[in-house]
Amino acid sequence: MINDKNSKKIVDIIQDFSRRHSLFVLAYGTGCGAIEIPPTMTSRYDAERFGIRGMATPRQADLLLITGYLASKTLKRVIRAYEQMQDPKYVIGFGSCTINGGMYWDSYNTIKILSDYIPVDVYINGCMPRPEAVITGFIELQNLIKEGKANGAQKYKENLEWYRENQKKVIKDWKMPDYNW
């Protein structure tokens, strides 16, 4: 066996396999995209066949699904939920408004680019994205995990100061505990 740094160990392959087939989504409907989550999860589209299901607490969830625009008030809660989540963790930006503001590009209360504030692994565009698009996004994330490219949490750790600076630009009154990063 070649002892190369880049080659994956068999343990990693098994880990990644388990991770990508048990993505637990944090049940937090942050925006209007939350309306397409019930159809995705229930009998017709049944995302559970991909190992995707809801999870109530951030500490046990792997995937933060930002369903649409984020008001600056919600951003504070989302950052807090994201920092509470344990590694491995992934973020999916859902809907056009997470990509570049979308329909709310001139709104004074919504952020425009989600990946300035938290690292995003996969974006799903559309307003609303259909359940098929949502499932495609999930599969895309699974492929990224398989290739070892879904390293948003790593990026967040390394560039924490840059993210903090952006976050504090929007959240003026920063009254949050600092987690151990």
């Binding site: 503001g101 001139d106 004074y108």
Partner: protein, 193 residues
């Protein structure tokens, strides 16, 4: 529309004009009546309408900014389940030092509307209790629903856009340059000009 249909609406206007001297009303259409009063009279007109005329339901309460006339317009929209008439009570308040009496002792849910209007327009409701922040959080600019608040300017100061997508300009050329693909035929048809 014949006059007989608007009977109860006209009777309502007459009754209100007789009771309150400084009040002018008019029938807009079937089931819609508008009256204008001075701001000092608002609580008494509202409580009279509620207790004597049967307008027991506050459907809506709104505020409109008229900077060209230097005033705010406050609108109370009442509904009578018995008469089935929607009564608009409008009043004007000065824009310089806007204040008006609160009416949440008449309808508890007026409190919610008043807190929103206080936050969005900066109008003081005398005697209003409840948290200052209702919808916004850590807001340090002027109340956002005022006409002179420029939302685009605020967005430019506080948020950034993806490079190349700052305005609503045509991005098809840019996409072609980046991806190396041709513009599809269906997209060529639509021109911005």
């Amino acid at each position: 529309m014949t006059d007989t249909i608007l009977d109860k609406e006209q009777k309502l206007v007459q009754l209100l004009e007789q009771t309150f001297k400084k009040l002018s009303g008019k029938v807009v259409r079937q089931r819609r009546v508008t009256v204008s009063v001075e701001k000092e009279l608002v609580p008494s007109v509202l409580s009279y309408a509620k207790s004597q005329l049967g307008y027991i339901h506050l459907s809506h309460m709104s505020c409109v900014d008229w900077p060209e006339n230097n005033n705010f317009e406050i609108i109370y929209i009442l509904w009578s389940p018995a008469d089935k008439v929607q009564l608009f009570i409008k009043t004007l308040i000065n824009r310089e030092n806007p204040e008006i009496d609160n009416v949440d002792m008449i309808w508890k849910h007026a409190n919610t509307y008043e807190r929103e209007i206080r936050e969005m327009y900066g109008i003081q409701f005398n005697g209003l209790v409840g948290a200052q922040e209702f919808i916004l959080e850590d807001w340090d600019d002027m109340p956002p629903m005022r006409r002179d608040f420029d939302t685009v300017e605020y967005v430019d100061d506080n948020y950034t856009f993806r490079p190349g997508r700052e305005d609503a300009g045509d991005v098809r050329e840019e996409i072609v340059k980046r991806s190396g693909e041709d513009i599809p035929d269906f997209a060529k048809k639509y021109s911005r000009d």
